[in-house]
Symmetry: C2
Subunit: 374 residues, 2 copies
């Protein structure tokens, strides 16, 4: 549902690979798209109303390529009619609506409900998650992701009135570009308990929403984190560091993973070494006695794994293969993005889960303020 | 004044190089040191009371190698007697006492008043400062320093009762290890206007003071920053990134400086490129049309520049050469460290300059609480 340039890829893929499994249909409220589609894909039925499509009996599963606010509603309408649903990221704009989607989906356990977190299929991040899950770097003490490779010039925002508004998009870099990393961060390292943020709205771009985010995370067990993103760094940095009590992982440019594994946990080292002996280690210049280092290089595959998510989604329907990105996981990234917004609006640290009603009320204020400015 | 292991170096230096300029004297309240000194340096007068030494007429200049709390008082007593003063870092524990020192020093403009910020003599940081001061990376948008190479095992803290207590040291990593980087950060990038911090006290070490610090800086003009330090990362990271609207500097391990200089400012690029053309640049994989890159490697010289500060201090006295680290600069690092403590104690963002009386009252509370625990 919804057919933009990005979805061309998806459509071609389904046409070539998956027609044997599923019959394909497209729905879009823009009548111009009907003609384009009729020419390019004459066999594919077109609907201008998604409820009609869902009721037609033509479709077994849908993908929601529509504005973020609509994902939960369309997801529910599909599941209601026993149609499998793959929602695009983010799962929605505010957790209240995503919670409704999740709660409804829970009543339909036989249906497949997924989310397009294509970066979860990236072998690099799968490897990082495996190392953390295996306890190879021990208990996490600190996370740190600077992800400023989301450069967008003013021309990007000026493409359509829909972009970068509170009313239509519900936010900026947090809801449009960075949801991948926000999901990966919580997927690999877990959800923080508290969030404090410094968010700049329309800082380097003429937009109402945020183009710069600096966030301090507190995991509630002593561990802390920092998450930084923006759309105004044309020489963007992508550096993700995870410190554990038994090791450290540094991911550079989503390509190179450096893993340092301590021979003994840091706590054990601290408890059993004199300062004089510690100083000797550092003077010795070699850290081989302290930790081993492994470096793994990956091909860069940002944005190339939509197909892998589709395959995994289809496989779950067909043979029950486990979903890499269950739809219900989508609420975590939305909760984190909402907490980051809310902290900046209130000017203080907020606890998770945040007050959903308060968030929605504050979001609606932004929508109203924006109308006045326009 | 004060003679610990570290000062051996200083003493040897003065003995070998500077006796022609100055006569040397040592003062320490520990009588055991008198005997050691008499054996090693029989010609050097020893005083067990610093006021006696200052009044003796034997000394023209002093260095305060004493607990942090005493730096301002001893500095004032020296200057009062027209004796030049080089204070160790930090200038003091709280800004109120450092302000008194600065105010008194201002009444003695003919005397040399310096501070042992030896890292200011590091050619790497001098180069970084030069690039920023020249405007080569434009107006600063973000600063980010992860400096966790200050590993200290429990044995370090257990060496003496003086260490890592509120009463004697007045803090942990912020007042003992990280003042170098706190000074360099403000020296190169300026002072922030607001600070929010998440500080862990006795997190991974059995101490009353902080061993982990995560700080969010706001420069009041849109620019933000992050400063992270701790003493429990044996595989410590030292990565300093400065983003400007015309370039970016990344310093790795205090050894390698990578400078990216944009051909046009980011704002100009953003205003004059369509999204389609921007996408082409990224697909082209080469960023040569966007920026040039320079990499400069330096020898690691952490901790090796005390002598350079001493020489600069002496040169200022002798021939008026400009001071690299004027004593009055010391208050900035103390103000920043105080703001970081205070934000964590109050659980909210604080503005600089902070309320000095409030800080001192809160610090004194910590001193009292610590006594009860002991």
């Amino acid at each position: 549902m919804g057919w933009a340039r990005k979805e061309k890829l998806t459509l071609d893929f389904w046409q070539k690979e998956r027609l044997k499994i599923w019959y394909l249909a497209v729905c879009d409220s823009d009548p111009a798209k009907k003609d384009i589609l009729a020419e390019k894909y004459p066999d594919v039925p077109f609907y201008d109303n998604y409820i009609d499509m869902l009721a037609s009996g033509d479709v077994d599963a849908i993908i929601t390529c529509v504005p973020h606010y609509l994902h939960p509603k369309m997801g529910i309408e599909a599941l209601k009619r026993d149609i499998h649903a793959l929602v695009e990221k983010p799962a929605g704009v505010y957790t209240k609506q995503v919670r409704e989607l999740n709660e409804f989906a829970a009543t339909k356990p036989d249906l497949t409900f997924g989310i397009m977190f294509n970066q979860r299929t990236n072998p690099l991040y799968q490897k990082v998650k495996e190392i953390v899950d295996n306890g190879e770097i021990g208990k996490i003490r600190r996370t740190n992701w600077i992800i400023t490779t989301w450069w967008r010039p003013q021309g990007y925002y000026d493409q359509s009135a829909w972009r970068a508004t509170w009313e239509s998009e519900g936010g900026g870099v947090l809801v449009n570009q960075a949801p991948h990393q926000i999901d990966l961060l919580q997927w690999i390292c877990g959800m923080p308990k508290k969030v404090y943020s410094n968010v700049k709205y329309g800082y380097q771009r003429n937009i109402a929403v945020e183009d710069e985010v600096t966030t301090l995370l507190d995991y509630g067990n002593g561990a802390t984190g920092v998450f930084i993103t923006c759309t105004h760094d044309v020489m963007g940095t992508d550096r993700f560091e995870i410190l554990g009590d038994k090791g450290k992982i540094v991911v550079d440019e989503s390509k190179k993973v450096t893993i340092k594994r301590l021979h003994k946990s840091e706590s054990e080292m601290s408890d059993n070494i004199s300062w004089a002996d510690a100083a000797k280690i550092f003077r010795g210049a070699s850290m081989d006695d302290v930790y081993s280092e492994e470096v793994i290089e990956f091909e860069s595959v940002w944005g190339a794994q939509h197909l892998a998510v589709l395959e995994n989604f289809a496989a779950n329907i067909v043979d029950g293969s486990p979903l890499l990105a269950p739809g219900s996981d989508g609420i975590n990234g939305v909760a984190l993005a909402n907490a980051i917004h809310l902290s900046s609006w209130l000017g203080r640290e907020v606890e998770l889960p945040i007050d959903e009603e308060l968030y929605l009320a504050e979001l609606n204020k932004k929508v109203e303020e924006e109308k006045v400015i326009i």
